[in-house]
Amino acid sequence: MHGVDITAGPMARRQTGGVVQSVAIVAGLEIGGAALLRTFLLSDATWVVVGLLAVFGAAFAALQIRPRLEEHIAVAFREMRLFALLLGCGIVLIYPFLMQGSSYALHLLITAQLYAVLALALNFQLGSANIPNFATAASYGIGAYSSALLAIHFGISVWLTLPVAAVVATVFGFALGFPAMRTRDTYLALVTIAFGIVIHQLLNNFTWTGGPNGLAGIPAPSILGHSFNSPIILLGFRLPSQANFYYLAAALVALSIVCARLLHHSRVGLAWNALRSDELAARCQGINVVWYKMLAFGVDAFLAAFAGSIYAFYVSYIAPDNFTFLVSVTIMTMVIVGGMDNTFGVIAGAFLLILLPEKLRIFDDYRLLFVGVVVILFLLLRPQGLFPQRPRNYGDH
């Protein structure tokens, strides 16, 4: 899908398949994935969608049956890291040009990217530290509302509202993390559910947030005099105005990936993993459990707020019902289906769970039922997620 290498650390056993083979694997997978996604986005025929899903399912069945394949791919991506990264970035950059000017396809991509950011944000907690958080949608909403209110009432530049909204949401994140320290597991899950519902209800009831009608008329951002509402015209190509937000969202995804990798390879990520394995043992090792848990809540809220702000500016209309408990559950499902603590997996999960229901609108009435059944089957058949987390490995880089 997007150019993210899935290597999180070398495998214990090194296999070298030669440069040509690795390049072929990397290029084939990235270009093939992008082509499949493009067909999926642009096709209206049901049988095409179902056929693509079958291809996708077959690929994973192959991985399930032959784990060696997965290893080969991981090795190829690790050896050709720079090539994979550059090719991925290139694909992301030219992707809007391949959409035949379809603003619907771009809209789907933007939504999927924003949810990828949310899923990555939650991944810090759920994936890295195994802290259940059902309040990601609340942070998302706080971010969206803060920047929308600032932009509407004070006319503050959109770019300035982004960091402010992130800080506001982070404060709320820490505020949620603080009471959460005394509780664990199911009880902690309930605290975050309660927090999410309280935020949703408050947004729904305050008059200054527009109540259930929400906020409308959020100004579109502009950069160097180019408004995000006008189409991009480049070298004779004309991209619909959604392309602006596509690139903005892609930049945010890239930023989140960088954050995720830096944190994963830092002391913080290690401390979170230690918490996940055994909280008591982590504490005995001198890890400040409370601080790292709070930090996980803060980081989650920080990134989610960015996604919220961009969402608000993109659709220019937000309402409390965009940030309900069920949204949090969806984000959580993305992380679990994609693969906990695996950056690429989480993004893939987000794309899958956004695009699949959209394309199944043909079945309309059975859509939610289908998604529910798929999620349950998924958890039963491949509980480690699409892309399982990779063991950390130190040494032979």
């Binding site: 005394r182 309930l190 519902i197 309280v198 408990f325 069920l326 039922l369 998604v371 059944v373 958890l379």
Partner: protein
Amino acid sequence: MDMLLAQHLLNWLVQGSILALVALGFSLLFGVLNVIHFSHGDVSIVGPFVALAVMQYLLVEILPHTWASALILAAAVAIFATGCLGVALDWLVIRRFRTAPAMMALVATVALGAVIRELIRMLYPQGSNPQPFPELMSAQFEIEGLSVPISTLFMFAVSVLMVAGLYVIMHRTPLGMRIRAVAQDRDIARLMGIHPNRIFAATFFIASAVGAIGGIFYASSAGLVRFDFGIQLGLIGFSAAVIGGLGSMHGAIIGSLVLAGIDTLAQATLADGAAYRLVFAFLLVILVLVLRPSGLFGKPVFEKV
């Protein structure tokens, strides 16, 4: 003033009783057996739908003009059917997550809840619309000018009876002893000749049947029922069980009365209290969990090293 107060008190009793019936199921499953089952609210709301369907069938086909007996029969069928549904869900889905990480079971049962809601919506004729639900009993009597519906007293009596009954089952019968044995150590229980899966089935049956009673009461006190009522019923019922302390039967009813009390108080004293009722209820949940992490009547859990 006194009349108003009395009305609020009655309202509080009804709400508390309904919540307690749903909370009991959560307390049994989460607290005693340590099963994560977030679709319990949706299972409970299946009850009124089955009752409605059966009642309409009875009134048209078999026993016309016998409203009361049709309702009683339909409710009985619905309670039994919902109990069986709980067992079936355990058998089909939930038991496969018994050894999985808690988060998996959590997301799986939330998805299961969505599946149940969608199935209700599609299987029930015009399931997307709210369905009117009859009152359980319309009679009321008067005390000093205050009219008290009999259904209020009936609901309260049933929920107290259920709490007492479950307490007796859990602590005074062989079944309860088996349930507690399985909860403590499944493998040792198996060595003692207990079939854990049967115990799980029995517990799911009890929890879902009691939940169905709660669902039917909820529908009849609201006068209507819709396919997605289960989300809120489940969330508030779970909160009530947690406030009371998971695993404690009397905790479930006290937690429910506390939550219902906050709700009623907010509606009675604040101008726009009705809009903020969920805010207060869930702020209370956070507060209780922070001050007493294992609920009001729960036993604190110590971690073994």
